[in-house]
């Protein structure tokens, strides 16, 4: 028994990390194939974000900033889909500005693959309800130019067609933008805060990836952003609030199981550490000839 116990403790301390990878892979994959439908709670953070969305009225203009590469999009996808569904359903006018060269791939991935049917259902049309300006916010200089002289700095959309005669005629400066919706990884475009939020007092909401949330919490705490949607979890909660289930809610089962597996492995690792690693190193120290 004693020997078996020691072996088990050794296994807990020295197991091959690839077993952890395999378990995680299985636990993430299975609920994706066959969702369990575990209940989820809605955080205060997401409720505040939703309340900010509700302040918008039909016809309001939103600067829709996509400062994310394709990899980050995979994490922001539920939040992006849910937020855009809200815009479409409520007749909010958006102009999409990319802040990352990889954003080009997102136009097809989000608007064509995910939202096309939804836009058709609500008769949400290009030029009348939304416009894609392309890689229009690469840096602070471009953001400043757009904020101070919109008509002078932006004349065509991403395909080179004139934006004259569209809802963007109403935008002269940042003061004419009713809200900024920023979908970003890491710091995103600081120009949005520096040149639009601080100068014109335009409210800004943000959907941020998990590892960069602490940075966004600082901006939320300081009142620089008024709503924060946290990663895939926040996206799934928003899906629940707007009653539009999507990829976020499907991912939540895997999210829960992945977190629990990590906690279990931390506990196992610590049992192994005290039962084997620490014991062995103490024994080695006591037998060392000084």
């Amino acid at each position: 028994m004693g020997k078996e116990g020691v072996n088990l403790l050794k296994l807990m301390a020295t197991y091959d990390k690839r077993w952890g990878y395999l378990l995680l892979f299985i636990l993430v994959l299975l609920p994706m194939i066959k969702p369990i439908g575990m209940p989820i709670s809605v955080s205060e953070l997401t409720k505040e974000y939703y309340e900010q969305l509700q302040t918008l009225e039909e016809g309001d203009i939103v600067l829709d900033s996509w400062s994310t590469e394709y990899s980050g999009y995979m994490e922001l996808k539920p939040g992006m889909i849910a937020t855009h569904k809200y815009f479409i359903k409520n007749g909010i006018k958006i102009f999409i500005c990319l802040g990352h060269p990889e954003g080009l791939a997102l136009v097809g991935a989000l608007l064509e693959d995910e939202l096309k049917g939804y836009m058709e259902a609500y008769d949400y049309t290009y030029g009348e309800d939304y416009i894609i300006l392309g890689f229009a916010l690469p840096n602070q200089a471009a953001t400043l130019a757009m904020a101070t002289d919109f008509q002078g700095s932006v004349k065509v959309d991403w395909k080179g067609d004139s934006i004259k005669g569209t809802f963007l005629d109403r935008v002269e400066t940042g003061a004419d933008i009713d809200m900024i919706a920023d979908f970003t990884t890491a710091a995103g475009n600081p120009g949005l805060i520096n040149h639009i939020v601080l100068t014109f007092g335009t409210p800004m909401i943000q959907n941020q990836i998990g590892v960069s949330l602490p940075g966004s919490y600082m901006n939320l705490d300081a009142g620089l952003i008024t709503g924060l949607l946290a990663s895939t979890r926040g996206g799934s909660e928003l899906e629940l609030l707007i009653k539009e289930p999507g990829p976020g809610l499907i991912a939540m089962d895997a999210f829960t199981l992945g977190h629990y597996l990590l906690i279990i492995l931390i506990v196992i690792g610590n049992i192994g550490f005290f039962g084997w690693t620490k014991k062995v190193s103490e024994e080695m120290e006591s037998t060392t000839i000084r």
Binding site: Y21, A105, P214, M218, F255, L262
Partner: protein, 196 residues
């Protein structure tokens, strides 16, 4: 320092001047892409010439970098070939790298949390509370965890993050000054780097 002032004192002239400086730095910053491309070619070609570890990957890197630049400049970003490269090469590679990171972070989390000392034990307790709260099912069944997790994230985590941000920004300013004064050249590929 002029860039800091408008955040604390509202003087339109200073604000305008700070904006102009930001504008100048952004425009100058865009030109650094030329130096970045030059440095990458120079570094990768040296790796290939000297047959250093991983030199084959540098051929792959240079090939696709050249291809993207060539097609982008010649036919523009809406060209079908360019879009195919973005959608079929860049996007999947980007997703794969991100996906793999999750496994590394998971493994690192599971192995790093060891109660080797009192401080490490406190870290584990805090980590487990936040992890439990972040798991949607627990958040639903044990709402009492929320104030503790929120305190750890928004008070402890945020203060540490602020400290981290200040340290990084200070370091970046110092590094930039050293680079501008010619004391730090290895980053730009102008000085010979140590064998990796």
């Amino acid at each position: 320092m002029i860039g800091f002032v408008p955040y604390f004192i509202k003087v339109p002239q200073v604000n305008e001047f700070a904006n102009t400086l930001t504008n100048i730095s952004s425009v100058v910053g865009q030109f650094t892409i030329v130096i970045a491309i030059y440095s990458q070619y120079r570094r990768s070609l040296r790796f290939i010439r000297e047959r250093r570890k991983g030199w084959v990957y540098n051929i792959y890197l240079l090939t696709f970098m050249s291809l993207m630049i060539l097609i982008g400049f010649t036919w523009g970003e809406h060209n079908a070939t360019y879009m195919w490269l973005v959608n079929s090469i860049v996007a999947p590679c980007s997703s794969v790298v991100y996906g793999i990171l999750a496994f590394y972070m998971f493994s690192a989390g599971a192995r790093a949390f060891r109660a080797r000392s009192l401080k490490a034990s406190l870290l584990i307790v805090a980590g487990v509370i936040v992890l439990l709260y972040q798991a949607p099912l627990t958040g639903s069944y044990i709402p009492g965890l929320s104030p503790y997790a929120t305190f750890l994230t928004e008070t402890v985590g945020m203060s540490l993050n602020r400290m981290f941000a200040i340290a990084i920004i200070t370091g970046a300013i110092m590094l930039n000054v050293r680079m501008l004064t010619g004391r730090e050249l290895a980053f730009l590929g102008f000085a010979r780097e140590e064998e990796s």
